[in-house]
Symmetry: D2
Subunit: 213 residues, 4 copies
């Protein structure tokens, strides 16, 4: 099995992106699978194009995207991506779409094709807080999840895709009072556990409500 | 214009449902529109059937459903309903569907057809906290929103539909430490303001990403 | 009985102070007591001097000070004031004491002389969220509470004093996401209920650890 | 220098107390000081007696007590302990004092004798979230802090004492949605850093409003 892990590049003038750093900490040698790590620009449009190019080049079995949702308390595999961009702040190239459709010929939404409940259960079993999320927002995180699933449904039969949000790392909240976090080690370990759950549940595709019906 | 307001009946052994009580406080005489109030059972399936029967009987121009999301801080018009039931607790008749499609022939999701951003702006302009929400959850609130929009798209051309969550009323949080609320008066007023915004924006249908494209 | 209510003047460039406005809404005619309202400058030192001058002039039976604690969910009568000023931001005249004793000859702390638990119970009985707080912080709110109690213990035998924090009003949180509030009406009503509880419990002085020792 | 670290035994039927486990993880060999670890019963009265016996036996230079405050986000050295017991739940032997003075001949409050701001700064400098707290509550944590400081002021000239609350460990919040935590490793490391700050600031006694009076 070949698993492509994606994470966004640093955003908003920051030098590092902790979610990206956590993905870098994931140890490929743990898995009976090939792990490919791809850095994605935090830009509407370009992010999907970058992921698509990597999907075409590497032909992975799974595309597992990671992003950060500051303010959340736990690891949250996303259930669904919706066909809309609605940014409260500009992306890394200044784009700020408002209520724009992502793909005119796309479904209103795509559900994750990953075993989100098994991923949550596996993380909790190893002491990492996790829960299913029902919204990936309307910014670049929802955008990349939607775009990856759109292209899988259009052009990559047999491929699976999905997204997981991670909280702030502890380093990021030192000057943010009353803000939740997990340590970088916990986040990296949670991603590893989620990857293993994906490997362990190759057929547990959470496929409802989409074009399949 | 004819506007049908729905709210759920009391739930979980409670004698009253504060969201229902707030809907009862809405003053029909404020509007240059006919206001019809419909009580909906907190039951998967039956809730949609009840709404559908009322839609057929009254033929409203707008179906505006109200539900409660305890723990939220403000009034939250919902952007989208997704085609899934996934209950953490049973409904009023003991049903607890897990990861079930609502309508096999439905879209993965339906976007609200109401002017959610104008509703938010109008409420804030009159001092009621409000924001757009991107998830109605996976319980009976998402269920009724999805079902109403499904039937509108299938059978009621020209009709509009949507959903708004309201927070706990202050009475409900007296023994829940550190839980947000609004007063019953604020919630009822917020609903009135949202209704007026719907009347004021008859063409501002937030129609993206659905079957229209 | 004569009750002196104090509230701080507008702070930080604001035109109004919602806690002060709430105190202005308190209806003196409700009570079988004389209500005197005194505005206090948000300034270390001067605030205590202003309160002291009013205490000398009016000779009230009770000094009941009100201040705002943005971020709290409910009405919080304070249990204790401590002998320290430690400001994270400057006051209205630019003073920012750090770890300074308020009165060198004062006790380490003074406990409230008001029936804080009866006040909480009375507010909750009328639908206003309330709880006892064990810290008034180290800014001007703790400062005025400490100063009033210091002077009562030194020079006003038979007088009682205490402090209550109130949350943001709803108007203040319209652009502060996920921030709790109560309506101005709820806050004003809560203060009225607390005043009545003080009248109803003239002997219920919560007197421990103070001048008795 | 000799430093006595205390932590409470398991409470409320739990098999382990994570704060106690964190104290056990503290590595004595890191410090140019002798570290003595003492387990304290979660019982009003007995907890102080146990600490007092250990103070008499070991004659430490510093008594540094640790307790858990579930719901807090960070490590919080406490500024002050107050002369009151007021329990919302019974202790391990069923005692539930309400508004009781701890020591009739004690001060209303004792301030920490430890360098609480230096401790906070040192923890944050190594990536552990921390802030000064102004209330240790009114349960056994405030009780032991008050009791230790009372006895130091009465009978142990030259000895210093203080208390620090730690948040839930991550393991404890797996089934508590939206509850903050730090990892056991972060908490243990934070305690070590705080101990080092105490060693590094032997004269930085935060002494106001206390024994001077």
């Amino acid at each position: 099995m070949k698993i492509m892990l994606t994470a966004f590049d640093p955003f908003g003038g920051e030098k590092i992106n902790p979610a990206l750093e956590a993905v870098k900490l994931v140890r490929p040698e743990l898995f009976e699978a090939e792990i490919i790590k791809v850095e994605i620009p935090t830009v509407f449009g370009k992010s999907i194009a970058t992921a698509l190019a990597a999907m075409e080049e590497h032909q992975p079995d799974v595309v597992f995207c990671i992003g950060q949702a500051g303010g959340r308390f736990d690891m949250t595999p996303e259930r669904v991506a919706i066909n809309i961009d609605d940014g409260r702040i500009p992306d890394n190239e200044g784009n700020q779409p408002v209520d724009q459709v992502i793909f005119e010929d796309g479904e209103p939404a795509y559900f994750s094709m990953l075993p989100i409940k098994a991923m949550v259960a596996a993380m909790k079993a190893e002491g990492i807080p996790a829960s299913v999320s029902n919204t990936a927002g309307t910014y670049v995180c929802n955008h990349i999840m939607y775009g990856v699933l759109y292209h899988i449904h259009k052009s990559f039969p047999g491929m699976r895709g999905g997204f997981m949000h991670v909280p702030f790392t502890t380093e990021q909240v030192l000057n943010r009072p009353n803000t939740p976090s997990l340590s970088s080690e916990q986040i990296a370990r949670g991603i590893e556990i989620a990857v293993q759950a994906i490997i362990d549940h190759p057929d547990d595709i959470f496929a409802v409500g989409g074009a399949e019906h």
